[in-house]
């Protein structure tokens, strides 16, 4: 297992390098805005723009720029400075990390807490009215875009904008360390919105897996032993049905991160998603690079964790 983790980590680092290089290439090959001109403003002279270009190091060939970037990254873990406002990308990302973690982890928890029980209930009574209602509802949730769902939830339930003022307003985020109650209140709608589509999908998947697993021979054995049906379902059935779901969840974390960008924008949560969005609008390559790398790291890391977790979940799996 140790060797496996080392190998995976090396691959992950290589992958991150490739991702950062591709981001550089894409930024330089496809027409995005000229950062020097954007920073200089509309009335600036061409000479001033060239000066800014030199100051930002944008006059160098892009492979040189990449090399400089890479050196900073590897030697000092320096993610560079925003073209747009000269802020350190690393400190921006780290200062926004708690918000993004709050959104994604909370969303993940909500997604699992809703998706799995709904799937179980549906699976126990397939084709019942409850099953039909829940699976129908999940279809709606899967199809609705996060952005739309977010706005609707704000206009229904948020303070300031909602018909029922139950949850915190958009933009009311505070760090958990400052006030856990406000923190929770400001995020609850975001979590539910983010979780909705995933929860719906996972409810359907849990239902399908569980129905399938409940036909397995070992379930029959469990019943033949005289176990309670509740134990048969929640222990023997779920144990097997949830294992592939954990793997799926690991892969979907990338999607969750994508959803978090939209969620952060709708609910005005100052996280990395919001930062990424602004970076793209401002053609701010260092910030784009930083957020892309962060996202890639997050996904790679999540996948590694899931793979390791899977070895514990399924004793038949071994990594050499």
């Amino acid at each position: 297992m140790g060797a496996y983790i080392v190998r995976r980590t090396l691959w992950a680092i290589l992958l991150l390098l490739v991702v950062s290089f591709l981001t550089f290439v894409i930024f330089n090959v496809f027409p995005s805005a000229d950062p020097a001109a954007l920073r200089a403003g509309r009335n600036a002279t061409p000479a001033l723009i060239e000066q800014i270009r030199r100051n930002l190091g944008l006059d160098k060939p892009f492979y040189t720029q990449y090399w400089i970037y890479l050196k900073g990254l590897l030697e000092h873990f320096n993610l560079g400075y925003s073209y747009y406002n000269t802020e350190s990308v690393k400190s921006e990302i780290f200062s926004r990390l708690p918000a993004t973690i709050s959104v994604t982890v909370g969303g993940f928890v909500a997604w699992m807490l809703i998706g799995i029980p709904v799937g179980i209930i549906s699976a126990i009574k397939p084709r019942s009215l409850l099953d039909r209602i829940m699976m129908g509802g999940s279809l709606v949730a899967i199809s609705a875009p996060v952005y739309f769902l977010g706005l609707v939830s704000l206009f229904l339930f948020a303070q300031g904008t909602g018909v029922l003022q139950w949850a915190g307003a958009a933009g009311s985020y505070v760090p958990i360390t400052q006030n856990p109650g406000t923190w929770f209140n400001s995020l609850i709608l975001a979590w539910l919105t983010l979780a909705a589509a995933f929860a719906a999908f996972y409810a359907r998947m849990t239902r399908g897996n569980l129905i399938e697993v409940m036909h397995e021979d070992y379930i029959r054995t469990a019943r033949a032993k005289g176990l309670r049906e509740s134990v048969v379902i929640t222990k023997h059935g779920l144990r097997a049905a949830l294992t592939p779901i954990v793997t799926m969840a690991g892969m979907d974390i990338g999607l969750l991160l994508g959803g978090a960008i939209l969620t952060e924008i709708v609910f005005n949560i100052p996280g990395i998603g919001r930062y990424a969005y602004d970076a793209i609008v401002n053609a701010d390559l260092p910030a784009i690079q930083g957020t892309v790398l962060f996202g890639a790291f997050f996904i790679v890391f999540a996948n590694l964790v899931v793979d390791i977790l899977y070895a514990f979940l399924d004793p038949r799996v071994t990594y050499g």
Binding site: D217, Y218, R220, R223, K225, G226, L227, E229, A240, P315
Partner: protein, 338 residues
């Protein structure tokens, strides 16, 4: 009074293709300490019958009627809660494929402990001790190490021994063994059968042995029922069945037993044709499409399961004399094992 009495059992399942009539009017009885063999091809209803005894066919799409009396109670009408006390503790069951029948994610020891603790309020360490004992009694070497093994880490024979240990850990009155050797290596098959036999003799457990292999029955059973298309076609003591079989289907089964003392021709003597669909069961005798001797009435009406002599029930339109004559001549061509 018999230990287990199955009376006129009917089981059918609604499926998208139509209603599957899996069991049609089966009546069987099992006495204490006895072994009942149920023989038939796949789809004959033998496994469904066995599983219905433990209520394992209680699905929303199943229709079940008849009676299964155990200890004076009807298992079919018993609440799931009460049935749970019977399952595993009084009637235990082992299955064809021990790999798929053991949960892949739990250690084998745990799976047995779980069975014990489902019925007896014993502390964990005591349950563990008993489990190791049970593993030892089924001949698993170094059982305390094996306790923490996962099913995939064991051989097929070992896995079936685990299943048997699990089934017998609570000393049930009845062990239902559903094709217990089918998925195993030939060499291991004999060992497992011997094990079941030995345990039966030691513990005095009654056994329902379900198999498609008459050879297995010949080795173990006291009584035998031959099933086909959800029905019992012939039922008797083992002795009678092997010496005086009266149903053409039984003859076919007997002739398809591989013989060790005859020269190998490279192929067995299977019964021509294939078992009928249980959705569209043939009119008349269910076996007539495959029966070389079927008399005209067999095409129209189903024969009743009738005694040809005390303790020997046969479901056939052929006159008794005719059956005996046909069996005699078959014996000359192709003697079967005795």
């Amino acid at each position: 009074m018999a230990l287990l009495e199955i009376e006129d059992l009917h089981v059918s399942f609604k499926t998208v293709d139509g209603v599957v009539h899996a069991v049609e009017g089966v009546s069987l009885s099992l006495d204490a300490r006895k072994t009942l063999g149920i023989v038939g091809e796949s789809g004959s209803g033998k496994s469904v019958t066995a599983q219905t005894i433990l209520g394992l066919t209680r699905f929303p799409n199943a229709t079940i009627s008849g009676r299964i009396l155990f200890d004076g109670h009807d298992l079919l009408t018993m609440s799931t809660e009460h049935l749970r006390d019977v399952r595993g503790a009084r009637i235990a069951m082992i299955f064809q494929d021990p790999l798929s029948s053991l949960h892949p994610f739990f250690k084998v020891g745990h799976q047995i402990v779980e069975a014990i603790r489902a019925h007896e309020d014993v502390p964990r360490d005591l349950a563990r001790k008993r489990t190791i004992e049970a593993l030892r009694s089924v001949g698993i070497p170094s059982p305390d190490e094996r306790f923490t093994s996962f099913p995939h880490e064991m051989s097929g024979g070992m896995r079936q021994r685990v299943m048997i240990a699990m089934a017998l850990a609570l000393r049930p009155d009845i062990l239902i063994a559903d094709e217990p050797t089918t998925a195993l290596d030939v060499t291991v098959q004999a060992q497992v059968l011997e094990l079941i036999q030995a345990l039966r003799d030691d513990f005095g457990t009654a056994v329902i042995l379900i198999t498609h292999d008459l050879g297995v029955v010949a080795q173990m059973a006291d009584d035998v029922a031959v099933m086909y298309a959800g029905r019992v076609l012939e039922q008797s003591s083992r002795e009678t069945l092997f010496t005086e079989p009266e149903h053409p289907y039984t003859w076919g089964l007997l002739q398809s037993i591989p013989r060790l003392d005859a020269p190998r021709t490279g192929r067995l003597n299977p019964i021509a044709g294939s078992p009928p669909s249980l959705i569209n069961v043939p009119r008349g005798c269910t076996f007539h499409p495959r029966c070389p001797y079927a008399p005209p009435p067999a095409f129209e009406t189903e024969p009743a399961l009738a005694p040809s002599q005390p303790g020997h029930l046969v479901r056939c339109h052929l006159p008794i004399e005719e059956r005996k004559r046909l069996w005699q001549s078959l014996q000359k061509e192709h003697p079967v094992l005795r």
